[in-house]
Symmetry: C2
Subunit: 244 residues, 2 copies
Amino acid sequence: MDPPAVGEAVKRVIVALDPARRGDVDRLLDMARLVCGVGAGIKVGLPMLALGGSEALAEAARLCKGGGLRVLDLKLADIGYIMRLAAESLSRGFDAAIAHAFVGYEGGLVELKKTLDGLGARLVLVVSMSHPGSREVLDPCLDKLLAVARRVEPWGVVAPATRPEVVARVRETLPTTVILSPGVGAQGGKPGDAICLGGADYEIVGRMVAGSPDPVSALRGVAEYIAARCPEKLLHSSTGNGPS
Amino acid sequence: MDPPAVGEAVKRVIVALDPARRGDVDRLLDMARLVCGVGAGIKVGLPMLALGGSEALAEAARLCKGGGLRVLDLKLADIGYIMRLAAESLSRGFDAAIAHAFVGYEGGLVELKKTLDGLGARLVLVVSMSHPGSREVLDPCLDKLLAVARRVEPWGVVAPATRPEVVARVRETLPTTVILSPGVGAQGGKPGDAICLGGADYEIVGRMVAGSPDPVSALRGVAEYIAARCPEKLLHSSTGNGPS
């Protein structure tokens, strides 16, 4: 039996399943079955679509049904008409779909939100990214991105575990919006950086778990690391908008 | 035989082939064969991938080989690692691939450019979009987006035919970079708005041609409209970076 904080922490870790080659697709789909019952859920996107087709996306969503959040991460960033077509054909079976806030509301995200609402899927908007290039345009324009997020009212936003100060600023601006934070592990963020330091609800881990020979142990290891850093925060999630 | 300006204009019109449902995929692939020898080329993206799989993307590129520009438009907007995976698995056979300038250089576009260079494909960066939402974040941050474009040095950039003044500003800032302008037709831009008023090299037309029962005639109609507006500009392309 996990100590309470570890049990709570593991439910805050989403595993990103991004195949690097066709041979990875089946291995990562098998992994979905393993990690789904343990962690917060899974995230699949363009690499899975490119290498495994829409069938692999649908299979990932099916395997994780009832086992946590199923996040479709195509980083949608086109005009409303095109994002709508993509959402209609790909987001069935997913709990949430990720798009970019910088696309803007008019003729863009307003159409996507309507489509996702109709499919019972939640919208997550990227307001900052985990790689260094995010400092060049996204971060200087964060105020405008947060203004779009306030207008669109997504269920969640993405802010980077690699820069917890950005997560903290997003949390301050959007106190009741769920924050998902990629960038833990291969990209340099340490488990707990976003949840403990920034106030995020979820951390997204990719290669650190998906590249492990024993993904469930690796996932537990991430959770233990987070739990050791901020047990009180995990047990008394201040935002009240923890995973539902 | 087309009058010279019409002959030149038709070589400046790229047809976007975006299926709205699975049944459209084959029809649009057949259309690729028709329009490729006539216009400047084709653009396919997420709807074709979602509804026809990577096989449909590859088929579109194959059908248009030697018949003009083949542009892959996934609006890539992720960290470098993910964009690299997508480019490696999908951009073979394409002449150019579109990504978003706002992703930034470090850990983002620098990796994508290297991958595309290795595949012999050219990078096109979106610096502004054709829908009204582009006024909310992208346009106010255009200076920063153009700075990223100057650093990345893509073969081309995307700027909207729906706002020719933005095209003109991009042309002024990036005098030798090819400008591709979507937004003609269904989105409200008139043929020639980007080329004649803004100095773009190509206009991208989607449903106006792809939705026509006679796409080649519709394509010629667009070209005649452009040619009537600025014959001299077409015949003496000032930027010298006309389609090559």
